[in-house]
């Protein structure tokens, strides 16, 4: 018996769990991701190199989304007009990464594959936000989690206590 109907959508078939380990500088609010672990429930891996590439690429897009990427506007106009203004991860922003693959050949795709492309993007921000809350006790609920937001949240908490 298969868990998946071959005609169903891939969206519900792939599960991801991630762990972020972060350091927060209490003086500046700067968040540094020290280590990252990403675990994937996958189907048959057709192209291992491409598969791992999708995981890593998605993860770093998620990291940018979590920590730095922001489409800013000024008086209703977009002010981040080029890659000179829009901050996205560089090669120096990538944390040491551990990937865990749980292969389970019952996906709905060709050769019983499952989707992998987007799985690694979405949980990154919640994992980092949870790690920040665990590290310094403030919960940032809008992205990106910039040093400024963490700093003012820390000041705010200090003011109230």
């Amino acid at each position: 018996m298969h868990f998946y109907d071959a005609k169903s959508h891939a969206a519900v078939t792939s599960f991801t769990a991630q762990v972020a380990e972060v350091a927060v500088d209490p003086a500046t609010g700067q968040v540094t991701v020290l280590r990252f672990t990403t675990a994937h429930d996958v189907g048959t891996i057709i192209n291992p190199l491409g598969h791992q590439g999708q995981i890593e690429g998605g993860l770093i897009q998620g990291l940018g989304f979590a920590l730095m990427e922001e489409l800013q506007t000024a008086e209703g106009r977009i002010s981040t007009l080029s890659l000179g203004d829009f901050k996205l991860p560089t090669i120096r922003d990538i944390p040491p990464l551990t990937t865990v693959i749980v292969e389970d050949a019952v996906g709905p795709g060709p050769f019983r594959a499952k989707a992998i492309g987007e799985g690694s993007i979405s949980p990154v921000a919640p994992a980092i936000a949870n790690a920040v809350a665990d590290a310094c006790g403030v919960r940032i609920v809008d992205l990106p989690i910039t040093a400024e937001k963490v700093y003012f949240a820390l000041q705010d908490r200090k003011g109230r206590s």
Binding site: Q52, E56, L83, I91
Partner: protein, 153 residues
């Protein structure tokens, strides 16, 4: 009139003084390997070598290359054989969509010319100016390490 050598071939060109080196390569010489990503010199997609030194060709003027030697991604392979850096990017999965790849490969070649066996920190320092959206950079680091190993053998 400017005279420049591109990938070993001499050219004489009439270009307006405002023509960027990137546009000159792409539109006057048909070398479309180098890409325009940001147009302001921060993304690295237009990286070429000018007398062996890497520059952002989108913010260099073509007249600036007068009398000098330009190497683009098209000039790396020799006799249909890929440059070790190109082969390593293929083997180690150093690219996905490919738009940043010509710049990454040229920058990586420049790195290995300057530092044949770079540490991971040196790779990250050197490649900082080449943005990539798809790979997450891990496999770019691995590709360069593989290329360095290949050069060693």
């Amino acid at each position: 009139m400017i005279r420049l050598t591109v990938n070993g071939q001499a050219h004489e060109l009439d270009v307006p003084s405002y023509r960027t080196l990137l546009d000159c390569l792409r539109y006057d010489l048909g070398l479309t390997g180098s890409k325009e990503g940001c147009g302001v010199g921060v993304c690295g997609a237009c990286t070429v070598l000018l007398d062996g030194k890497m520059i952002s060709s989108c913010i260099a003027l073509a007249v600036f290359a007068d009398g000098r030697e330009v190497t683009t991604v098209e000039g790396l392979a020799e006799d249909e054989r890929l440059h070790p850096v190109q082969q390593a990017f293929m083997d180690a999965g150093g690219f996905q969509c490919g738009i940043c790849t010509p710049g990454q490969v040229v920058a990586a070649k420049a790195l290995l010319d300057a530092i044949p066996h770079p540490s991971e920190a040196e790779i990250k320092e050197w490649m900082l100016g080449n943005l990539c959206r798809c790979t997450g950079y891990y496999k770019i680091v691995e590709s360069i390490q593989a290329a360095a190993g290949q050069a060693r053998a």
